[in-house]
Symmetry: C2
Subunit: 138 residues, 2 copies
Amino acid sequence: MNKNEIKNAGLKVTTPRLKILKILETAKEGHLTAEEVYKRLCDHHETIGLATVYRVLTQFEAADLVIRHHFEGGHSVFELAKETHHDHLVCVACSRVQEFVDSTIEARQQLVAQKYHFTLTDHAMVLYGFCARCKKEE
Amino acid sequence: MNKNEIKNAGLKVTTPRLKILKILETAKEGHLTAEEVYKRLCDHHETIGLATVYRVLTQFEAADLVIRHHFEGGHSVFELAKETHHDHLVCVACSRVQEFVDSTIEARQQLVAQKYHFTLTDHAMVLYGFCARCKKEE
DNA sequence: CTTAATGCAAACCGTTTGCATAGAT
DNA sequence: ATCTATGCAAACGGTTTGCATTAAG
């Protein structure tokens, strides 16, 4: 339950944190910017400041409840930390995000890291291009 | 020769553009932020505004003379466009950048794109971790 | 009651832009 | 002479922070 996730993170259970968690859970796109989270809160008639949204998302990130991605174009996107790791395809036209997993790529990354004596902590694998829909419209 | 590269890009051959190109060529690290380029120009006693550095780097990027990468942490880095494509390993402690190429990963990316009907225009593949030196110091 | 969390506005930082001046062709 | 490029300072957009107020434990 959400309350426990927040408690386990060592944070007090407050309305803003609960609402933000719910927004992320119910976002079918999965990936939202802080601004988008903020707008949805407004839509739901919640009065939560943008600063709080950033603060809470950052805390959730620190608690591994949320993952923050820095896609090209300056804005970060946040998604609920799911069980399974995955990477992203991003449409350069409509910004649609498609998740994918490729175990071959994952394995290769480890090999590359070993080759250069790096100990991986994280990686960013983002493919940019036109999605099927936007390709047509070109 | 540098003058021709600039001319071929449809740009006038000016001191700032020549100097910035030289800075990038002589940067052994290869990857510099706009700020770093600016500082080096100052070191060489050139009076070139930071705005010009950004403008020129952006023009060079448009002309495919330079590649801009958006690593995590908000700042972009620029590198001279080399013949060969490559990806990056970045040390999360010292920011050292190691280039690498893995044809298996490259091939797999195309497969993934096909699977989701994307036409790739670009990709970001950055591995983050501790380099050998920083790992020791932990 | 004590301490952490919020809202607001102001600060920040990297980057871009408007405008008058300087420079390239 | 014409038109692009530069420098400066001001604007910008996303994100963070200081501080007084409010709410959680």
